[in-house]
């Protein structure tokens, strides 16, 4: 009896062991290694030594603060666009989708069966200076010849908003869908107008969804470099482009690691402040669900 109770107590640990180890070795440990690497000094030919070298952080911030600020700006803009575009969609599907709810959700998700890179390239193709959208408009004289969308910040932000829209719509939809219709009836019974009902009942109840959506959109949007390098130009590079370049081309690992850590710290700080401001608890539960 005692043996079987011990076995029962050990079972969950045996179950999580392989996956937990995998996450520990390939997710948690690398973070620590990266932190240590950011404090190394040296170069790729002579090798790197750990020296508590904080210079990499200062150099990284001094040389690339433009890209860092631009990333946050683009990420914020893209997040706001996804809320503005996505909230009404989530609202309509949740309250008016009827029996077709799943069909609409499927339609929203379907485009994302096409590879992220391919979708972005398709936008590049669509928005090209002489492409299928701008070409004809220029030929009939609606737009000046030198008009372009590609290689602007607008193109990058729109690309980010496009690529991360479902991460905003789905959590908001889940939150709205969970609202008890009796609450809306109660609001109406208590003489709340439609706008009042929306502002005082629906909106507050949707906030956990918005919170999860912002988390799932803002973080990848800020750290993306695919949109910036395909849709943007030399003056629209984001911090992701810099990190990628430092790691894979320049191979200045300490600076690259320091920049990655700075980005992570900025994102974590942003999320923390946002969570405090919203007073949203159980972030974990909302997102993991």
């Amino acid at each position: 009896m005692k043996g079987s109770r011990l076995r029962a107590a050990l079972t969950p640990y045996v179950l999580i062991l392989p996956g937990g180890l995998w996450l520990a070795i390939f997710f948690v440990v690398p973070m620590i290694v990266m932190l240590s690497l950011s404090l190394h000094s040296g170069n790729i030919t002579d090798g790197f030594v750990f020296t508590w070298n904080w210079r990499s952080y200062l150099d990284g911030i001094a040389n690339y603060h433009d890209q860092m600020i631009r990333s946050i700006g683009y990420g914020l803009a893209a997040t706001i666009i996804t809320i503005v575009v996505g909230f009404p969609v989530a609202y309509w599907i949740a309250f008016h989708g009827g029996r077709r709810k799943n069909m609409y959700l499927l339609l929203l998700l379907m485009p994302f069966l096409v590879s992220f890179v391919l979708r972005t390239i398709s936008w590049q193709f669509f928005l090209a200076d002489d492409g299928i959208l701008l070409g004809p408009l220029k030929r009939i004289g609606l737009l000046p010849d030198d008009f372009h969308i590609l290689a602007t910040g607008t193109a990058v932000v729109l690309g980010l908003a496009y690529n991360f829209l479902p991460f905003m719509v789905l959590p908001i939809y889940v939150a709205l869908e969970r609202i008890d219709p009796r609450l809306l009836e109660a609001a109406a019974d208590l003489y709340a107008g439609r706008l009042q009902t929306f502002l005082r009942v629906v909106l507050p109840l949707s906030l956990p969804g918005v919170f999860a959506g912002v988390l799932m959109t803002f973080v990848p949007a800020c750290s993306d470099y695919v949109n910036a390098s395909i849709l943007g130009g030399a003056s629209n590079t984001m911090i992701g482009n810099v990190i990628q370049n430092q790691y894979l081309v320049a191979q200045d690992y300490p600076v690259a690691a320091a920049l990655s850590f700075t980005l992570m710290a900025v994102l974590l700080l942003g999320i923390f402040l946002y969570a405090r401001a919203l007073g949203s608890e159980e972030v974990l539960e909302v997102t993991v669900r």
Partner: protein
């Protein structure tokens, strides 16, 4: 005096089938939803269309007539084919490994209360919400430090790492809604622990396992950022396309994208219909 009348009028007015306001009621929102769906499908439509373009030379930019040539010459570009095969192999391996590991975690978290489950959930939450570039950069940092040769297997390792949490979350959600009394009944009828799992528990959680594994496959085959960091000389489908941006995307890429899209839609639709029958 008026308040009573107003109240009476109000109640009768409001007791009618409830409408949520001209704006919220839907016309406009319905149109908006379809506009957004159109926006989402626009690049997909362009991609599919230009897979049928009878283009000459390296640039597939202007419409030059309809052809099925690219479907016939789908595998004419050797390194593109290799990249696609790599992607499929990596996604398959990821699906299997992350499927098993994630299912075990999902079972543990959905079924048992134990010390450390909070920590496990925290790590999973961190892995799900962590920026891809940070995961890629930190993994590369470790591989570089330990002088691990980059390639196919480092890519598989990375893909399992970032998709295992998604499988675990999906399976856990399923485990939590499964009726435990069926398992107890199986035990009462003399089934051993393993038999109960194989014949009762696993079939019941299988939809979650399947959904989680397919998610892992989809995440893996689409991944660009982390793969870009840890794949070394191994080229996957997204990496190949990204590399070809500057020199022009051949129409075969459009065709492959179209076919992957088609298979995905087919699975999604079958799944939706299957779900309705259940």
């Amino acid at each position: 005096m008026n308040t009573l009348e107003q109240a009476a009028a109000g109640t009768t007015a409001r007791r009618r089938p409830r409408r949520r306001g001209a704006f919220f009621r839907g016309r406009l929102l319905h149109i908006w939803t379809w506009l957004v769906i159109t926006w989402l499908f626009l690049p997909i439509a362009v991609m599919i269309l230009f897979g049928f373009n009878d283009t000459r030379g390296r640039y597939n930019q202007t419409w030059q007539g309809f052809t099925l040539r690219w479907y016939a010459e789908l595998f004419a570009i050797d390194d593109l084919t290799v990249a696609l095969v790599n992607s499929l192999l990596i996604a398959l391996l990821t699906m299997l490994i992350a499927g098993v590991l994630g299912t075990l975690i999902g079972l543990a978290l959905g079924r048992y209360r134990f010390r450390g489950s909070g920590l496990m959930k925290l790590v999973m939450f961190a892995a799900i919400s962590c920026a891809e570039i940070i995961m890629g950069a930190s993994l590369l940092s470790m591989f570089v430090t330990l002088a691990v040769p980059l390639g196919f297997w480092t890519t598989v390792i990375a893909h399992v790492m970032f998709s295992v949490s998604f499988v675990a979350v999906t399976v856990r959600a399923r485990v939590m809604v499964v009726d435990r009394s069926l398992e107890e009944a199986a035990r009462d009828l003399g089934a051993s622990g393993w038999e109960t799992f194989r014949l009762v528990t696993f079939p019941m959680i299988f939809p979650g396992v399947l959904a989680g594994s397919l998610l892992a496959f989809a995440l893996s085959i689409d991944d660009f950022v982390i793969t870009n960091f840890v794949s070394g000389g191994t080229v996957t489908f997204p990496l190949w396309i990204y590399g070809a941006t500057r020199v022009g995307i051949p129409p075969q890429v459009n065709v492959m994208g179209t076919l992957i899209f088609g298979v995905g839609v087919l699975i999604a639709v079958l799944n939706a219909f299957g779900g309705r029958r259940r």
